[in-house]
């Protein structure tokens, strides 16, 4: 998940100034998370950080990233002092009932009265920080709650207390129960697995996801119930995904929020309310926390660090890093025992400790060592070998390999979530996608400089059930009768059958001829005649066939503009070779000449005529006739300048 963090906000966690923003970004990138973007503003720098699921439980807030910086730079925290207001006995405690079996871990609620606007203190800093990470201002109380969530990670909620009827009930929704959410126009329908906060009148909020409109705070709100709770990650995730309501709160809860954080969150909230609303009165706190998670303790063998990281770390280096990470490490009989802070739900096994020490020490210190070869030959998948040998064989027969899409507009096996309507199925055969590709290639035949196209594809197809590997050969130019394609196909079939001990299906039945293109297909899986499909093959046969890697090829993207074909025939004295002539043409045709090939030669008396086809194309525009004529004119002019040469 991508989240934004303010450099100034992060700095506020520390006694001393942090290194410059660029350096902070660089270190975070190498020690903690991937920095997607660093956005420099006039007064602040914003880091867009990709927080992956392992660190999302603690790092989806500024405090979590500050924790990383604390570990990386070993720089002391600035102690934040919260002023806790006294409890007023005139304000009643919130009545809450958490129903049995509800997937909640903690529920804290506290009533606050006397919070009428306007504010008595300046909220600018909080608003500026929220704005820096693109959060807009809604209501001072909501802004504070949001600020705290982005600051220390606890989602908070505020109900207008005067709009709540009776006790708060944490329960499952009933089937078809509805709630109108804040900022929405029509109600959402809930199901029996969704957890809600409700009162006598019905649903007030979808737990851990979003508040309802009925008890939302407004500018005239005078008393509120503030909620700081913790819900089961899977339950929140299921509801949020089903309703497509990926609120900031839901994103945090689905990544497992530590339930101890709930108390810290509400402490911070009431101290803010106390500061910004000096007349506010606070009721006593309701706190339902039936089972506290126990302290996790992870034992890691001291030898494992060097075995896995290849770095020999001193005991005090390991202890130092783990101390910076607040893991309270101690050495015990050849092991280091760590007690990760409750926020670090991701640190559970010895390998996690290795990662923690490795990354903070710096993975750049790990140096590569090529492992020794193990004895014994590793298996070579039979299918891989067979398929690739067939590929090499087919190019030797003059066929070029195409890859087409595994998705098709029609087929048997249908995707539940296709990318597009015309890609809703998995291809049941290579025939259709290969035919389409062939039509496009035939259109480019001149550009490719061939009279007929021979192509093949070997790929997975998805018939009624499962999948198998299919082979399809395609030959163009059938309608022109320029080529005896049937005989080519017979020859290729025969050669495949001999080389690979296969019996291929008859041509007529399995082939398709359309628009002068022939497609012939067969299944590789069912093909072998004698050798039944075995799992492994010796690599020698495959390796001996593989062509050497292509070095020095620099790909040139085909132009999207149409090409123009021109023919020219030139009479030259018989001792002049065609390559001599084509060299002259290439020198004078200009940069737009894409392809040049000879298609006819004949001799008359002591002269020879070479007929060339020239293909012109530009990378930036459609060529006009005049432009191509100009190129042809230059060639003709050069030809005529040479004695004995003549354009026919």
């Amino acid at each position: 998940m991508l989240a934004s963090y303010s450099y100034q906000w992060l700095s506020s966690f520390f006694k001393e100034p942090l290194p410059k923003a660029e350096e902070v970004a660089d270190f975070l990138n190498r020690r903690s998370f991937e920095i997607e973007k660093v956005r420099k503003g006039e007064t602040d720098t914003i880091f867009d950080i990709s927080i992956l699921p392992d660190r999302a439980s603690y790092a989806l807030c500024h405090k979590g990233v500050a924790y990383e910086l604390h570990a990386i730079f070993n720089t002391p925290y600035h102690e934040r002092v919260l002023k806790t207001p006294t409890i007023s006995h005139e304000v009643s405690e919130v009545r809450v009932s958490v129903r049995d079996g509800v997937p909640a871990t903690r529920y804290i609620a506290q009533r606050v009265e006397g919070i009428a606007l306007p504010l008595k203190a300046d909220l600018t800093e909080i608003l500026q920080r929220l704005q820096s990470i693109n959060e807009r201002s809604i209501h001072p109380l909501v802004d504070m709650a949001n600020y705290i969530m982005f600051d220390m990670g606890q989602p908070l909620h505020v109900f207008d207390a005067d709009k709540v009827d009776g006790e708060l009930v944490i329960r499952f929704a009933s089937h078809g129960e509805e709630v109108l959410l804040i900022g929405e126009e029509s109600p959402r329908e809930l199901g029996e697995s969704d957890v809600v906060i409700a009162d006598k009148k019905g649903v007030l909020a979808i737990a851990g996801i979003k508040g309802g409109a009925r008890a939302a705070v407004t500018s005239s709100t005078n008393a509120v119930i503030i909620e700081s709770a913790n819900f089961d990650s899977v339950a929140i995730r299921k509801t949020a995904r089903r309703l497509n309501l990926l609120s900031d709160a839901a994103k945090r809860f689905e990544n497992k929020v530590n339930p101890f954080r709930a108390e810290k969150g509400i402490d911070q909230f009431i101290s803010y309310i106390h500061h910004f609303f000096p007349d506010a009165r606070f009721g006593s706190r309701y706190d339902w926390f039936p089972s506290k998670p126990s302290q996790v303790s992870v034992k890691t063998s001291l030898t494992l660090f060097e075995e896995v990281l290849g770095i020999s770390l001193r005991e005090e280096e390991i202890l130092g890093i783990l101390t910076q990470l607040e893991m309270e490490p101690r050495i015990d009989n050849g092991f280091v025992v760590s007690n990760p802070p409750p926020e670090r739900a991701d640190v559970v096994i010895a390998e996690d400790i290795i990662d923690e020490v490795g990354r903070i020490y710096g993975y750049e210190h790990v140096k590569g060592v090529l492992p020794k070869k193990e004895k014994g030959d590793m298996p070579l998948d039979f299918h891989f070998s067979y398929e690739n040998r067939l590929k090499v064989f087919l190019i030797q027969q003059g066929f070029s390999e195409l890859y087409t899409s595994s998705f098709a507009p029609e087929g048997v096996q249908k995707l539940l979530n296709p990318i597009a309507k015309d890609r809703a199925f998995l291809r049941a055969s290579l025939k259709d996608t290969l035919f389409e590709a062939m039509v496009r290639n035939v259109h480019n035949q001149d550009l490719l400089g061939v009279e007929a196209i021979h192509a093949f594809e070997i790929g997975t197809v998805f018939p009624k059930e499962g999948e198998h590997t299919s082979v399809a050969l395609a030959i163009s130019g059938i309608k022109n009768n320029k080529l005896n394609t049937d005989s080519i196909l017979h020859q290729v079939r025969g050669a495949i059958e001999n080389t690979f001990s296969m019996v291929l299906p008859p041509i007529e039945k399995e082939s398709t001829v359309k628009d002068g293109i022939l497609i012939y297909k067969f299944s590789l899986t069912e093909a072998p005649k004698e050798a039944p499909l075995q799992l492994e093959e010796s690599p020698d046969q495959l390796l001996s066939m593989l062509p050497a890697g292509k070095e020095g090829v620099v790909y040139r993207k085909p132009s999207v503009y149409p090409f123009v074909v021109r023919d020219i025939a030139i009479f030259v004295p018989e001792e002049v070779t065609s390559s001599h002539v084509s060299k002259l043409i290439m020198e004078h045709a200009g940069v737009r000449l894409q392809k040049l090939y000879i298609f006819d030669t004949f001799k008359k008396d002591d002269r020879v005529s070479y007929a060339f086809r020239l293909i012109f194309q530009d990378y930036a525009k459609t060529l006009s006739d005049a432009e191509v004529n100009d190129c042809m004119g230059k060639i003709s002019q050069k030809v005529e300048e040479i004695s004995g040469w003549q354009v026919r």
């Binding site: 993975y363 060592v369 193990e374 590793m378 190019i395 027969q397 062509p547 620099v554 790909y555």
Partner: protein, 230 residues
């Protein structure tokens, strides 16, 4: 025969050959798995539980509750480990699928090669050494690797690896790490005795970098104007 001239292999096939040749030199075998998978092989066996945010990291094409298109060649890991006893070292090249909009660097279908080594002394230095060796031979140039902490639920530690060719800029090319002990356990291999490292490299990305192809979609539209350049 069909034509006097040889045909052309698709550049992805050629790169798979290169990958095979280089890893074969170092004793790797080849494993294969289906493109249609069950959630078990694609996710659960790899320590990616149902209803966990880790599943969102890979947008998945579904055909039914128990049927999907594999999102990575890592799904081959469990198929192979179920049938073979360690030590082993294998690569598994193949086509994978992601349900995401395509652009110049993203396609709903692309190729990966998985590498899996399980031995008694597998380590991060060996992982780096193996990949350095591969990259040096493949790109035929001086290579520097950079590791960054990352997360793939089937490895721990998990890293993202950037490559610099001839001192050039860092390019993100692959994810890797030490095989998570739970994954070994799922395959019936004792993580107290055996350790592993695994990596997954985007073959399309390698091909694009090596030959200067700037649009991944060009590989899958059956265009000979691309293929005949190789």
């Amino acid at each position: 025969m069909a034509s006097k001239e040889q045909g052309h292999l698709h550049p992805i096939t050629q790169v798979i050959f290169d990958v095979y040749r280089i890893f074969h030199e170092h004793g790797f075998g080849v494993a294969r798995g289906p493109e249609l998978e069950t959630p078990y092989y694609n996710f659960d066996a790899l320590n990616i539980p149902k209803d966990h945010p880790a599943r969102d990291l890979q947008d998945t094409f579904w055909l039914g509750p128990e049927k999907l298109l594999r999102t990575h060649t890592s799904s081959v890991q469990m198929h192979f480990m179920e049938k073979h006893k360690p030590p082993f070292r294998i690569i598994a090249p193949g086509k994978v699928f992601r349900q995401e909009a395509s652009d110049r660097t993203h396609e709903a279908q692309f190729h990966q090669v998985e590498g899996l080594v399980v031995s008694k002394d597998a380590s991060l230095p060996q992982l780096i050494g193996t990949l350095e060796y591969f990259m040096r031979v493949f790109f035929d140039t001086d290579i520097t690797l950079r590791l960054r902490p990352s997360y793939f639920s089937f490895v721990e530690p998990g890293v993202e690896i950037d490559v610099s060719r001839d001192g050039g800029p860092w390019i993100e090319v692959l994810g890797a790490g030490m095989v998570h002990p739970q994954v070994l356990k799922n395959a019936g291999i004792d993580p107290g005795t055996w350790r592993g490292f695994a990596f997954g490299v985007g073959i399309d990305r390698l091909t694009m970098l090596k030959y200067g192809v700037d649009d991944i979609r060009a590989f899958y539209n059956g265009d000979l104007r691309l293929v005949t350049q190789f």
